[in-house]
């Protein structure tokens, strides 16, 4: 049996409120023991002195582009990029071609992931057929096929009656409905945040209220239906405030924020750099700070990359024609460690939002280093300084805002199901 001893690391397990120096022993596919002075007894030893040993990071929100847009990414390349970023599992959105709105497509994605991806892949199925916001998908069959959640991400379910029924029906399957909350009539074709920057640049603004109004609607629907709502990529102070109020009332809602919305503002778009174009857009400082505060206070439960690969020739179009999105698997950890360095989050609370909470929201195992849990583990060097060279990314795409940036903090080893799949010196190992 495969045996690995992670020796002498700072073991951070939010599920057990555990944060101390210890060894972690893995036997086969499971965590076998956690404690001091564990004996190797022939196990492969990974020295973790000075590193964090955490439950594997889980990304609630990404785009793997397969099937249909393999020139941007596929399940293998995306999975490798994820593992290199410390992620042991990722949830991929349904806006593929064809859309993941039937059990056969879900089955295909899972099959591909089994063969091609070092990280686990949890397909998020469409909430409506073809992401058209009209006809509900077969949620029961999709969950049986392995769908982990439902979302029309990339599009908004504008019809309130449809969203009501989706939330009601989702109670049959114990899966969250993830909302891409932007009232498209208020977005009005806006391509960057509406504010002083959009006015200066002469680009059409997407107002923060487009998100706030739609989050308000979905929270009311969640409260009314009892469905389990998850708000994707929160980007505005108004949305954070509404989610806080809803949680105080006991509404069944969770929320995520993307790394870029925690550190960048619309000023980053000032040179018309289409790699800074993302949906929802980078916002003002006030919104960014509110997202950070919301994450710290637990209003926002999780960090999700919204890894969204696009080819270079697509990003070379006019700003409004360039597709929104940025890749993020390999940079997310370093970017969000900023909140630990600033003192806003303890390492334990950061890992809770990167692993334990995402597992719970997806109703999947993980997020824990308890004995008997699946051996999905990230080993993180929080102090390592490195330069991100996107040309060397495992992703097929290059649309990163952090190309050439010096980052601090990096995954140095990733273990999935008891196997070492990534090592910072040797790269992806499977």
């Amino acid at each position: 049996m495969n045996r690995i001893l992670l020796r002498g690391g700072r073991v951070i397990d939010p599920s057990a409120e555990h944060d101390e120096i210890a060894d972690v022993l893995i036997e086969g596919e499971r965590i076998a023991a956690v404690g001091r002075g564990l004996r190797a007894d022939g196990a492969e030893v990974i020295e973790a002195d000075g590193f964090w040993v955490t439950p594997g990071l889980i990304d609630l929100h990404c785009h793997l582009r397969e099937p249909g847009q393999e020139y941007k990414e596929d399940i293998g390349s995306g999975g490798r990029a994820a593992a290199a970023g410390g992620f042991t599992a990722v949830a991929c959105m349904a806006n593929t071609h064809p859309v993941n709105d039937d059990p056969a497509t879900t089955d295909f994605i899972i099959d591909r992931a089994t063969h091609d991806s070092p990280a686990r892949v949890y397909p998020v199925a469409a909430a409506t057929k073809g992401l058209e916001g009209v006809v509900m998908t077969e949620m029961v069959a999709l969950v049986e096929a392995g769908a982990a959640a439902f979302s029309d991400d990339g599009k908004t379910i504008m019809d309130g009656g449809v969203m009501r029924h989706v939330l009601e029906y989702s109670r049959l399957v114990d899966a969250v409905v993830i909302t891409h909350a932007e009232d498209q009539t208020l977005v009005g074709g806006g391509v960057i945040n509406e504010g002083a920057v959009s006015t200066r640049l002469g680009l059409r603004g997407n107002p923060p209220i487009a998100e706030v109004v739609h989050v308000a609607r979905d929270l009311i629907l969640a409260e009314f239906t009892g469905g389990q709502l998850h708000v994707a990529h929160v980007s505005t102070k108004g949305a954070v405030d509404l989610i806080r109020q809803a949680k105080d009332r006991g509404v069944n809602v969770t929320a995520e924020v993307a790394p870029h919305h925690l550190v960048l503002t619309d000023e980053a778009t000032a040179e018309y750099n289409t790699n800074m174009k993302v949906s929802p857009p980078l916002r003002s400082e006030e919104d960014r700070d509110a997202c950070r505060r919301g994450l710290v206070e637990g209003v926002i439960d999780a960090i999700a990359t919204d890894h969204a690969p696009h080819a270079q020739h697509e990003k070379e179009l006019e700003f409004s024609a360039a597709p929104p999105g940025m890749i993020g698997f390999e940079t997310a950890l370093a970017v969000v460690l900023d909140l630990v360095r600033s003192g806003e989050l303890s390492p334990l609370e950061l890992i809770r939002r990167l692993s334990t909470h995402p597992a719970r929201i997806l109703r999947r195992a993980g997020g824990s280093l308890a004995v008997g849990a699946p051996a999905d583990v990230s080993v993180i060097d929080p102090a390592r300084s490195w330069i991100y060279d996107v040309a060397k990314s495992y992703s097929k795409s290059r649309n990163s805002p952090w190309d050439g940036a010096t980052l601090t903090g990096r995954a140095v080893a990733t273990l999935v199901n008891g196997r070492l799949v990534y090592d910072v010196e040797r790269g992806i190992l499977i």
């Binding site: 509406e194 504010g195 002083a196 959009s198 006015t199 200066r200 640049l201 002469g202 680009l203 059409r204 603004g205 107002p207 040179e271 018309y272 020739h313 070379e316 179009l317 006019e318 700003f319 409004s320 024609a321």
Partner: protein
Amino acid sequence: MIGRDLLGIERLERAEIERILDTAEHMREIGTREVKKVPTLRGRTIVNLFFESSTRTRASFEIAGKRLSADVINFSPSTSSLKKAESILDTARTLDAMDPDAVVVRHAEAGVPQRIADVLAAPVINAGDGAHEHPTQALLDLLTVRQEKGCIDGLTVTIVGDILHSRVARSNIYAFRKLGAEVRIAAPPPMIPCAIEALGVKAYTSLREALEGADVVMALRIQNERLAGAYFPSTREYSATFGIDRAKLRFAKDDAIVMHPGPVNRGVELAHDLADHRPGVILDQVRNGVAIRMAVLYLFAGRQPAEAAR
């Protein structure tokens, strides 16, 4: 002193603006000669890269280039890159390989001239990009006002109309502010951009208040087909509330002049007679447009390569 590209007024210093205006004063004289041509840019190739159709601005740049003896090539990719499946940067790289001495870019989308400048060796002159900037328009407006009023410092300039979608408004806000004027804007609220005060202007929804004491009144073009019903109820209501006519002009200073970047929707944003007669100065603006573009081509395309290098 002058940068490699002319992408917008926002980045120009006052002294640079004044140098362009002074140069244009000389250029205007060339247009009054019997032989309207000087050899200044002989052997230089200027490409007018117009992604967005434009008769007036393109003709103005073409005449300016020809009066300076440059070889002027008009290149008009008719559709957006999305439709023809070639990115704007590919178009720019293709052009770059033909070694032009300057490229004049017009595009319906903000930011395209800057992104083309990022990959092009030659200087790029922005001839209007979306709702961003139209620097030569602002320069010709400055020149016109300077001729009329002697200087810009201390004047009050009121810009009326669709500020939200207007590159002319943005460039003129920067231009007149940098030369010491007070700039006001007036429009129906949906056409006043978010946080416009950050550009140093005061926004009015009352035209009367905005015109109080104005030396210069600039009416902007209303794109009827696109805007009526969405940003204001009808052209009739717009004309009644924000259209500039002699009655409303009485709120401005007695010697106020009226400007318009053209083409004019007569009877909508500007009354018929003001389009043709004083205090309207619309054709003076057009005349100055050629002089300004000659000055700009001379200053940006006329340098030795080493001088123009980044």
